[in-house]
């Protein structure tokens, strides 16, 4: 058969037809915020129905509406802020200290071979230590008051931030750095204008994890010795088996977690809009 016969080669139309199956979907997270709310609402709704019908006994799980009431009471009595303000201060001071030192150390490790050779093993040694175990040591070093709490939170955020930062710096596209050098940019300019922005996605996703760890450590520190603070509140409620108050405290912590994650999300959207 010659090539020209191609034009009138019939398609096999009379045989069985089936549409090509679509298989390209997924793997592209999109903004579907309402789904999160629905999941929460369904879980809370189930707990409410379960406790009201007696299917779940009051000793197993407090009724969500009672927990909400406890939070409202806490707010009305003014105690909410008495607990929240010291907690937030500790979180902000500790996490800011830890994250900023972590980012600086991470950048240095990423940039200088000697710092890397010296500090990477140290970071690997520090990372797996449960920081709470060191609280007594911090109490001796920094005093029983705020100092030891700041130090604990700062130390806890420091290691994951430093590790995330130096791997982010490692992953900055070398060809961009070469480009900077080939245009005669100064070392400082290359770090500030190419390395840091290039490492930003990795640093921010590291911060998400570090800040969650900071909240966990905040509660741990407050449980070990504080008059006011969400941790102290939860500990007190727990020792009295007051489940409503315990859950009220837990809900506040979760909200804090959501808040932190939202703030990072906003920063990501503002700073990382350039990503494809």
């Amino acid at each position: 058969m010659s090539d020209t016969a191609f034009a009138n080669t019939p398609l096999a139309e009379e045989t069985r037809q089936s549409e090509v199956r679509f298989r390209g979907g997924g793997f592209a997270p999109r903004n579907r915020r309402w789904v999160g709310f629905v999941v929460f609402a369904v879980l809370i709704g189930l707990a409410e129905i379960g406790t009201r019908t007696g299917f779940i006994s009051n000793l197993t799980l407090p009724r969500p509406s009672d927990v909400l009431e406890t939070i409202v009471q806490l707010y009305q009595s003014g105690l909410l802020f008495k607990h929240l303000v010291p907690s937030l201060t500790r979180l902000v001071v500790g996490a800011a200290l830890g994250a900023s030192i972590g980012i600086s150390v991470g950048v240095m490790v990423g940039l200088f071979s000697y710092v890397r050779a010296g500090l990477v093993p140290l970071l690997a040694a520090l990372f797996p230590i449960p920081k709470i175990a060191l609280l007594p040591l911090f109490v001796i070093w920094f005093g029983i008051d705020e100092g030891s709490k700041y130090a604990l939170i700062a130390f806890g955020t420091f290691t994951p931030t430093a590790v995330a930062t130096y791997s982010a710096v490692d992953n900055v596209d070398r060809s961009l750095i070469r480009m900077g050098q080939s245009f005669g940019l100064s070392w400082f300019s290359i770090v500030r204008k190419i390395v840091l922005p290039g490492a930003m996605p990795g640093i921010l996703s590291g911060l998400r994890i570090s800040l969650a760890i900071a909240i966990i450590l905040l509660v741990a520190a407050e449980m070990l010795g504080a008059q006011y603070g969400i941790g102290a509140y939860i500990l007190e409620a727990g020792s009295l088996y007051d489940l409503e108050r315990l859950f009220a405290g837990v809900v506040i912590l979760s909200l804090l977690g959501v808040l932190v994650s939202t703030v990072i999300g906003i920063i990501e959207r503002r700073l990382l809009g350039w990503r494809t």
Partner: protein, 255 residues
């Protein structure tokens, strides 16, 4: 200002990569470098721009760089190397900021190079919004902004599809005709070499040696798509390269 690569030899470890390479790049001319894959073209270009040092031999600048030249030897990369977080304008101002050029002076330069590369309307776009051809034009605009004495181009068009490549070749010819620039242009593509080169240097397979230097006298502006004179030269280049390329191909499979 001319550039001379003088008796360059290079080893990576024990492997000899380049052997006795001497090339002159006269001011205002485009010298194309072709050769089989892995023969050391990119390596040679890195030497020319001072990003790496050859085992022996020197890279010489003959004469003074032109007035107002901010970066004598300036690269245009195959993968564009644009900062994805900066707009087109920001990417160009990046290379001016370090020379203390800001504000209206920078604006004037940026506006000029954007106009020369037909990008005026895209100055606020981010790289992710641009097509491949436009990205490379931004990279060329950025290179022109520093008013280089010599452009070092490593396969600047090979990441592009063939139509875009044709268009960009025309752009380069127009740019050169308006203000002749000096360039060392590495390519795989013989059609590019005969279209843009005043002189084509053919390297052998590794260790890269100069096989032949072909001069093309026809003015750039008169060379066109599927030009008969150029086809003859291109065929000659391909005859030179075919066996080398085949041997190089088989060498890579052995590794």
């Amino acid at each position: 200002m001319d550039i001379r690569l003088d008796a360059i030899n290079h080893f990576y470890g024990k492997t000899e990569i380049l052997k006795d390479i001497t090339i002159d790049i006269p001011s205002g001319k485009i010298v194309c470098l072709v050769g089989p894959s892995g023969c050391g073209k990119s390596t040679l270009l890195r030497f020319a721009g001072g990003l790496e040092k050859p085992t022996s031999g020197r890279v010489l600048q003959l004469g003074e760089p032109p007035e107002g030249c901010l970066n004598t030897l300036t690269y245009v990369f195959q993968d564009f190397a644009l900062l994805p977080w900066r707009s087109v304008r920001g990417n160009i101002s990046l290379v001016l900021e370090d020379h203390g050029i800001r504000g209206t002076k920078a604006d004037a330069i940026i506006t000029d190079v954007l106009a020369r590369t037909r990008l005026t309307d895209f100055d606020k776009a981010l790289p992710k919004q641009l097509s491949g051809g436009m990205k490379q034009r931004v990279a060329i605009a950025r290179a022109l902004a520093v008013n280089p004495a010599v452009l070092l181009m490593d396969e600047p068009l090979s990441a592009l599809d063939s139509q875009t490549r044709e268009l960009l070749m025309d752009d380069l010819v127009t740019l050169w005709t308006r203000t002749p620039f000096t360039a060392l242009y590495v390519t795989h593509n013989l059609a590019e070499a005969v279209r843009l080169g005043h002189r084509v240097v053919v390297l052998s397979r590794r260790p890269g040696r100069i096989r032949e230097i072909v001069e093309i006298d026809k003015p750039l502006a008169e060379r066109g798509y599927a030009d008969a004179d150029l086809e003859i030269i291109q065929k000659h280049l391909w005859d030179l390269m075919r066996d080398e390329a085949r041997a190089a191909e088989e060498e890579l499979i052995d590794v």
